[in-house]
Amino acid sequence: MSRELSPEAQKEFDWLVTRYPQREAAMLPTLRLIEREFGCIDPEGMKLCAQLIGCSPAKVFGVVTFYTHYKRETDGENVVYVCGTLPCALRGSDALADYLCDRVGIGLGETTEDRKITIKKVECLALCDQAPVCQVEDVDWLRVSKEKADEMLESLGIPKRETAGAAAGGEEKRS
């Protein structure tokens, strides 16, 4: 069964293609539309995109795999992006990534077994004065301490640790 856009999404697509003199230029926004409609971009989504744009699925595959910010079928429901570029690294993003992975029980770039959470490193999010920074779906988490990291994980359904701070010893001191 081939996929279709919902009527509203189809309307949005019809508008999109009017914004460009060449249909193929609507590729990136169309992929966003498909990502939103179906939760991710999987091979079926790529086929749909190819149909809409009027190009080969191979072309779409080539485009999708060039970019890192589309949600793919291999990603969990929520992707936690941890910025790892220098300004964040200077304020402890490596340690933050370790902490998050440790709490969730997966490695960097991995997804939990229940497919709820993926943790990925991301390059500079242009929020360097708020370092260290994470992005979870459409929410930017700024100045992420371990406490804030716990809060972020709680918003993803991972309960806070009862003895946060005590276990790791003294890190809550940095104010």
């Binding site: 200077l90 340690a95 301490s145």
Partner: protein, 443 residues
């Protein structure tokens, strides 16, 4: 190089681009109009011939704020006047250079300032279609820009017969999807055309053959945001800010080891020391400075003896670095430079688009060798080896991403060689190799 002229008084300076940032509803059309918004665009479209606009921008001395500092008016003048093809403006809002976070402020808090700059540009160059290419991660910026565009259409500031003249303009926000190379102007055009973000060989330059193989102006967000002010307050006023070769106000993004990181608007030419100590409150714990990256991670590092460098295009060039995107990353004297450089190396290796061998392989080799030095497996010849690889990476590729790793890497090898030699000899048994052991929003 010419002597460096003195910057205008940095203390008496009043913000221009960020004047209304932080005020309630600064992103709305009503707010913008209540502070003289779109007056400049109206006047320009009604009273200026396109050539007169280009001329005025040339005279203002405005230089591109995206990285290369190319004179804005001059770039516009390269677009052919007589052509059957449509012309395009692509506003570069990709802002991915590590340590850069200034365009975000305009997109999110004062998007009409950018739209007004776009109107002026399109009138000057004869453009009817503009795109704002914003990086995919900046969802709020994209929302705010879209809302501002809707408001402008509703008011008749975009669309057909703008300001009652024979002037039509459509503006569309185009979201990227996570690729640093799409900030490079030709990579951006490839991406906008619906493909992988592969840069293209220049020439032809975009001004002659760009988007859809038509003449295209590419300008950074901050560059465009300067335009309304130039026409509101005049060329003389504009040139009274900054230096002779770098006129105007500039958004400096300061991050890393400073007490008050943030975006600060100051005249071009402000000494780096003043920016770090007076504006950003100095270094946490009153520690010393090991190095400063003055213009985003593509810029060669400066040492602690170079803090008097003026933050202007010419001042940083004379110091062997560059103003770039004015992303200032401060590293205090506890920072392990090898870790810092390795982080930079990883970034460029990850972001190389892979078209050119010197870049694709070179970035990878540099990262690999830095990694082994970092892990205590460095060899005495490694410093020269990295240097030699970097020599092969400069000036040999389609775009300058390759140079953007080679140049900062070579600056570190040159300026901090004894330190690196010591680390290699020690085999790094120390634990200094991490940049920070805790997530540390406050230092």
């Amino acid at each position: 190089m010419s002597a460096i002229s003195k910057p205008s008084d940095t203390l008496a300076f009043e913000p221009v681009l960020t004047r209304y940032i932080g005020k309630k509803d600064s992103h709305t059309l009503d707010f913008y109009l209540s502070h003289g918004g779109y007056d400049a665009a109206k006047r320009v479209v009604r009273d200026y011939k396109p050539d007169e606009v280009i001329d005025a921008v040339k005279k203002s001395g405005l230089r591109g704020r995206g990285g290369a500092g190319f004179p804005c008016g001059l770039k516009w003048s390269f677009v052919p006047k007589k052509t059957d093809k449509p012309k395009y403006l692509v506003c570069n809002a990709d802002e991915s250079e590590p340590g850069t976070f200034k365009d975000r402020v305009i997109n999110e808090e004062d998007p009409h300032q950018l739209l007004e700059g776009i109107l002026i540009t399109c009138w000057a160059v004869g453009i009817e279609t503009a795109y704002i290419y914003i990086r995919g991660e900046m969802w709020r910026g994209a929302q705010r820009l879209k809302a501002a565009i809707d408001e402008a259409y509703a008011k008749g500031y975009l669309g057909k017969k703008i300001f009652g003249k024979k002037f039509n303009l459509d503006v569309t926000v185009h979201r990227g999807a996570g690729a640093y190379i799409c900030g490079e102007e030709t990579g951006m055009l490839s991406s906008l055309e619906g493909g992988r973000g592969y840069p293209k060989l220049k020439p032809p330059f975009p001004a002659v053959e760009g988007l859809f193989r038509c003449p295209t102006v590419v300008n950074n967000v901050e560059t465009l945001a300067n335009l309304p002010h130039i026409f509101n307050r005049g060329i003389e006023w504009y040139r009274s800010i900054g230096t002779e070769e770098s006129p105007g106000p500039k958004l400096f993004c300061v991050s890393g080891h400073v007490n008050k990181p943030g975006v600060y608007e100051r005249p071009l030419g402000i000494p780096l020391r003043e920016l770090i100590y007076d504006v950003c409150g100095g270094i946490p714990g009153d520690r010393g400075i090991r190095a400063v990256i003055p213009g985003g991670s593509s810029a060669p590092f400066l040492g602690p003896d170079e803090l008097d460098t003026p933050m202007s295009y010419e001042g940083l060039k004379d110091a062997g670095s560059m103003l770039g995107s004015a992303g200032v990353i401060v590293l205090d004297d506890t920072t392990d430079l090898l870790s810092a450089l390795l982080n930079v190396g990883k970034f460029y290796h990850h972001e190389s688009c892979g078209q050119c061998t010197p870049c694709r392989e070179g970035c990878g080799w540099v990262e690999k060798i830095l990694q082994r030095m970092h892990d205590g497996r460095g060899r005495s010849e490694d410093i020269d080896l990295v240097d030699e690889i970097c020599n092969q990476m400069v000036g040999k590729t389609i775009c300058v991403l390759s140079d953007a790793l080679a140049m900062p890497a070579q600056s570190v090898l040159k300026k901090f060689r004894p330190e690196l030699e010591k680390l290699i000899a020690q085999g790094r048994p120390d634990v200094l190799c991490e940049l920070a052991r805790e997530p540390s929003p406050a230092l």
